[in-house]
């Protein structure tokens, strides 16, 4: 009771107080990943929020809003990594900056379809790209229909994140064979404020948390100061040829499709590999086949950041599956590899 009185004196705006209390109770809910939606209906006067509507607003916000946000990426077991992420519209084209703030760091700057990379261990370069592969899945922010075959999106309710009132969504794969996600969108701007990845056991695998958000009328002034002429020249990559592989995966997880087939030499070892890229719209999975050679024959399973790496040698062929998927699913994919008749 004392606490409530204190709050009252602090926040004269009673509606805000109401929101605060409600969202505090929600914070408790979200921590237990409860799917309980009985306590959701808050504001009867507003039309009910749906997941589809929230995602469509998110897409619009990502394409139109000028913003400047600070955020951290946290993976249990390793240090949180802070970033600055800005987007805006300058001279009619979208501009974007993603800057890793710790250590030697890495910086990505996009002007329209030209993306320049500044990384600590290699010379800066520019690629002609449709978009930047950022901290959140691209399709989540721009093309939610791309993963609708594989995932269900559920509106959970409202919660308070980064000091702001948000809508919370859950994204769950239809066949429960992939990680699940929770997404919190700012009620006012519909920009993402928090994005969590959970394992099948419900443990946190990765957290993207915004700590500060600034929505502005025009793009951040830094963009206008970049002299475009001094950016590294655009590197043209050879168009990837479409290879025919002698093998396929006879049964894929629900909503997952073959995206690309290639035969290539690995940059580091120079080994020849056959590569099949799969995608369910939200996560990408690589399947590699190569002669096992002299390499040790043991199975290998490890996690690199939030990527699962599973390799197994059979009949002198090493099969490797890499992607942000549970180990069980990687194993299933591996088991359905079949040579083409």
């Amino acid at each position: 009771m004392k606490k409530t009185l204190k709050l009252k004196s602090k926040f004269l705006d009673l509606s805000f107080l109401f929101l605060t209390i409600v969202s505090l109770s929600f914070a408790g809910h979200s921590q237990t990943h409860s799917n309980d939606t009985s306590t959701v209906a808050l504001d009867e006067s507003k039309p009910a929020m749906t997941a589809e509507y929230a995602l469509s607003k998110l897409v619009k916000a990502m394409e139109q809003t000028n913003y400047d946000m600070s955020l951290i990426v946290y993976r249990p077991g390793s240090e949180p990594i802070p970033y600055v992420w800005r987007r805006g519209t300058l001279d009619g084209e979208r501009v974007e900056l993603l800057n890793e703030l710790n250590g030697p760091g890495a910086q990505i700057i996009r002007f329209g379809k030209q993306v320049s990379y500044f990384e600590a261990d290699k010379p800066a370069y520019t690629l002609s790209q449709e978009y930047v592969k950022g901290l959140l899945p691209h399709n989540l922010l721009h093309a939610p229909e791309a993963f609708s075959q594989a995932y269900d999106v559920i509106y959970v309710g409202r919660a308070r994140v980064a000091g702001l009132s948000t809508h919370q969504l859950r994204i769950v794969s239809k066949d429960k064979s992939r990680y699940s996600y929770a997404l919190w969108l700012d009620e006012a701007s519909f920009l993402p404020l928090k994005f969590s990845t959970f394992t099948l056991e419900g443990e946190l695998l990765e957290l993207v948390q915004v700590t500060h958000l600034n929505v502005t009328d025009i793009a951040h002034p830094d963009f206008a100061q970049v002299d475009r002429g001094t950016l590294p020249p655009v590197q043209h990559l050879n168009p990837s040829k479409n290879f025919t592989l002698q093998w396929t995966i006879s049964k894929l997880p629900v909503g997952m499709q073959e995206v690309k087939k290639r035969v290539t030499r690995l940059g580091i070892t120079g080994e020849l590999v056959e590569h099949l890229l799969l995608s369910d719209g939200l996560v990408d999975v690589s399947v590699y086949l190569q002669p096992s050679g002299e390499v040790a024959q043991e199975d290998v399973l490890l996690r690199n950041q939030s990527d699962t790496f599973l390799a197994r040698v059979k009949d002198n062929v090493q099969v490797t599956v890499i992607g942000k998927i549970p180990a069980q699913t990687a194993n299933t994919i591996m088991q359905y590899i079949r040579t083409k008749p």
């Binding site: 290699k122 002609s128 990837s240 690995l266 080994e271 002299e294 399973l301 690199n304």
Partner: protein, 187 residues
């Protein structure tokens, strides 16, 4: 001379005494006095917090020349401390780290046994001690992989890195625009 400087200072400040003999004509006729006159006015402006227009460009030119020699990646249009500073820092570091460019920047953060019966030699750091001699008895598990082909283990780690790097590169490159319209394409 000292007296003249004092008088000049007084002239600039509008505090000439009746006894002072310095006139504006004296100032104009003497180059050194003229430069001092300008400098005193500039100093006065700065101290009063007024905006200063530096008529003499030599200092600005020198600053500009020095900037030209800097290895700038992005040249900002203003002098404000912004984006450019970060980028230059990165650039400097990049030359510093260039030697390591060929080495995979992938770190193996977590390892777990998928198949419990299998023992995975790669998950431990390569043993530094002499092989075979005085092996710890209690670590019976390592016996299963006794005399692992260390070359094979090293090769395997290298291959893991290579595959992880290729996967990440593909995801990044996957967003590259279709370049089939590039003029360099041969018909």
């Amino acid at each position: 001379m000292g007296n003249k400087q004092e008088q000049l200072s007084a002239l600039v400040d509008g505090q000439m005494q009746a006894t002072d003999s310095l006139t504006l004509d004296d100032v104009y006729s003497d180059d050194m006095m003229l430069q001092k006159w300008q400098r005193y006015h500039t100093i006065g402006d700065v101290m009063r917090g007024e905006s200063v227009t530096v008529a003499d460009n030599s200092l600005l030119d020198r600053i500009a020349d020095a900037l030209d020699d800097e290895p700038t990646v992005l040249a900002p249009r203003s002098k404000r401390k912004t984006l450019k500073d970060n980028v230059v820092t990165l650039f400097k570091q990049s030359s510093q780290f260039a030697v390591a460019a060929g080495v995979a920047a992938v770190m193996i953060l977590g390892v777990q046994n998928y198949n419990q019966t299998d023992v995975q030699p790669f998950m431990t750091a390569p043993t530094s001690g002499p092989q075979g001699a005085l092996a710890p008895v209690s670590l019976s598990q390592t016996r299963n992989i006794a005399n692992p082909d260390r070359q094979a283990v090293v090769e395997q780690r290298k291959r893991i890195n290579a595959l992880l790097v290729d996967h990440k590169q593909q995801l990044q490159r996957n967003t590259v625009s279709d370049e089939t319209e590039e003029p360099e394409q041969q018909p």
